[in-house]
């Protein structure tokens, strides 16, 4: 699935630390993004993902650590000398300029002097690439949200930045448009080969978009790897929670079993972690047969998702357990509200964080 082979890092962070008062918003962040790579950065709100992006762009000054772009230390450089593009969640288009002038803005006012005809040609090429031909003279208040998104992208890409940072770029779009823009974003980036660092709070977006995926939690990196690896092998209980596809139970290991409030679960896969927890994917649960591990919970409700159905159960102590039934596996079972069922899974599908 990897589109590009690593050819050396474009962005390199070393021990980047940013504090607000005595709270560390970023705590010794180190990672690198390779040329041509699409990295998505997933984190819940308050995890520091936007601060991280702003520190890379130079909008926030870190207290410690280094930011390097193509081998050059830019930690103390102002934003306009870094060569990093930034796409804002609210697009931040220039409201007093037309679509064309928005896109041409960096070419006209940036460091390199170029002729107006060159600016024109490159701007029109870029508008063509993002599919905005014919809208050049429109004001930015006269176009739709998806078109604004494209203007924001075109404006950034036209100056050929070394790296593009995207701060929840699809967050302001409706669901339908979001899906189309995901495909568009990847297509445009593959045409240009510029590495993208895409921040998002949506796990499905992060998994779908990234060649590699960073999970950020409370200002520190929890996991950094290909989406498949993160999805199948979350590094700790919090990563499992953010992925929004795991039931995570608290408890502790006693002998051969992980003991929860809902009873003991036989141990198969163990992952070292600072906080003990047990995780099992929604789609690994079944009520049809006893697969070896399991617990009892009362049925509450179901939610139809098109290709699957989510069934919600509640254990006697109030923990909600989710079971995902893919409709390709036949019609869903009928459950009776309030009745207790035995939810079970194969022990090897569960992950014990110990």
């Amino acid at each position: 699935m990897r589109a590009h082979v690593a050819e050396g890092s474009v962005l390199r962070l070393e021990q980047l630390t940013k504090r607000f008062g005595d709270r560390a918003a970023l705590d010794k962040i180190s990672f690198s993004v390779n040329s041509g790579e699409y990295v998505s950065l997933l984190g819940p709100s308050g995890s520091g993902k936007t601060v991280l992006l702003r520190a890379i762009a130079g909008f926030e000054a870190p207290e410690e650590g280094r930011v390097s772009i193509v081998g050059e230390d830019v930690t103390r450089k102002p934003p306009h000398l870094r060569g990093i593009g930034f796409v804002f969640q609210n697009f931040a288009l220039f409201p007093h300029l037309s679509v064309f002038d928005n896109v041409a803005f960096g070419l006209r006012n940036g460091g390199d002097k170029r002729t107006e005809s060159d600016t024109r040609r490159r701007t029109l090429e870029m508008l063509d690439l993002v599919g905005l031909n014919g809208l050049e003279t429109r004001g930015v208040h006269q176009i739709s949200g998806g078109q604004k998104q494209r203007v924001a992208l075109a404006r950034t890409l036209v100056i050929k930045p070394k790296l593009v940072l995207l701060d929840e770029p699809l967050g302001a779009l409706d669901a339908n448009l979001r899906m189309r823009m995901r495909v568009e974003l990847r297509r445009i980036r593959e045409r240009l080969g510029i590495p993208f660092l895409h921040v998002t709070g949506s796990e499905s977006e992060a998994l779908a978009m990234g060649d590699r995926l960073i999970v950020l939690d409370r200002g520190a990196i929890s996991q950094f790897g290909p989406p498949g690896e993160v999805y199948e092998h979350p590094a700790n209980p919090n990563v499992a929670k953010f992925l929004n596809c795991y039931n995570v139970f608290d408890g502790s290991v006693q002998g051969d079993a992980f003991v929860t409030n809902h009873g003991p679960i036989p141990l198969a896969r163990r992952v070292a972690s600072s906080t003990p927890a047990y995780a099992v994917r929604y789609d690994r649960l079944t009520t049809r047969a006893d697969a070896g591990a399991g617990l009892s919970a009362a049925y509450i409700a179901s939610e139809y998702l098109g290709s699957a159905i989510m069934h919600f159960f509640e254990t006697p102590d109030g923990k909600v357990v989710e079971l995902e039934h893919h409709l390709s596996n036949g019609p869903p079972d009928a459950y009776e509200a309030g009745r207790t069922y035995r939810l079970s899974w194969r022990p090897e599908d569960g992950i014990a964080f110990v």
Binding site: H80, H96, G106, G110, T137, G139, A152, T156
Partner: protein, 281 residues
């Protein structure tokens, strides 16, 4: 039920409010058409005439009422107001820009700036006159009085710009920087066009406040009087309806100023939409 009773009451209240606000001016306007030169500044109107307007413009035949000394003082006041407007607006925009960031002594600096509009004007005027005398500085409308006018109008320009920046979305500036555009160019090409309506308001405030400023100017302007001082000094002798006629003329001038402001404002707002309108046609 409630609104049926409330609305007429509020209407009457607003009516009284407007009458109170504009009543004196209407009376003044009517009396400016008093017969001259015998007619005095009171009712009844003996005969309608435009004598006092002619008198101001120097078109009336000589009479016992001496002409208002407005020619040179009007020029002074307009020049002073213009200088004050430019200086206060530039300083106000710069100060408000500085206040977007946090710095040491920020709140102290805020109160120091705003103090200029709180301190009693007579005291400021007297104080600056004393300072000028002690330091051997000559008092002029373009030096000492100019300084007191800037101190007085700067807070207004500053507060207007502070309010504008408060609603300003800084991400457009960050977007410009990230496109490789240096901060100075960003200010010129992005920030300034977006805050321009606020700058216009700040200019209007500074100009009008300086134009009819009296108490600060009284002691700080020296011998050469500005317009409000010149008008006041004629009151000391005797009041004739020519002062009323002049009041009407200056009000018309202020309206003209407001009209220019409104036109500029509309243009700056429309400029953003113009492209879109062309597209729609």
């Amino acid at each position: 039920m409630e609104s049926r009773l409330l609305k007429p009451i509020l209407a009457v209240y607003v009516g009284l409010f407007l009458l109170f606000l504009y009543g004196p001016f209407i009376v003044l306007g009517i009396l400016s058409f008093q017969q001259g030169p015998e007619g005095g500044p009171q009712f009844p109107i003996q005969e309608w005439s435009v004598f006092w307007y002619k008198h101001i413009l120097g078109l009336a035949p000589p009479s016992r009422v001496s002409p208002l000394p407005i020619g040179i003082s009007l020029t002074r006041s307009l020049t002073l107001a213009g200088m004050t407007m430019v200086t206060s607006t530039v300083l106000g925009v710069m100060a408000a820009q500085a206040f977007r960031r946090n710095f040491k002594g920020k709140s102290a600096a805020f109160y120091l700036i705003v103090l200029g509009m709180i301190v009693p004007g007579v005291l400021v005027g007297l104080g600056s006159a004393l300072v000028a005398t002690t330091t051997g500085l000559e008092r002029h409308w373009y030096s000492t009085a100019f300084a007191t006018h800037v101190v007085y109008t700067l807070p207004f320009a500053f507060l207007v710009m502070l309010a504008i920046f408060n609603r300003f979305d800084a991400s457009v500036e960050e977007a410009a920087w990230s496109l490789g555009v240096p901060p100075a160019t960003t200010f010129r090409k992005v920030t300034f066009p977006l805050i321009f309506p606020g700058v216009l308001s700040a200019m209007l405030f500074a100009f009008t406040l300086s134009y009819d400023e009296f108490s600060r100017t009284l002691f700080s302007s020296g011998r050469e009087q500005t317009l409000p001082l010149a008008i006041y000094s004629t009151f000391a002798v005797e009041i004739h309806p020519n002062v009323f006629a002049f009041g009407v003329l200056t009000t018309l001038f202020s309206f003209a100023l407001l009209t220019v402001y409104a036109i500029l404002m509309t243009l700056s707002v429309r400029r953003a939409k113009r492209v879109a309108i062309q597209e729609a046609v």
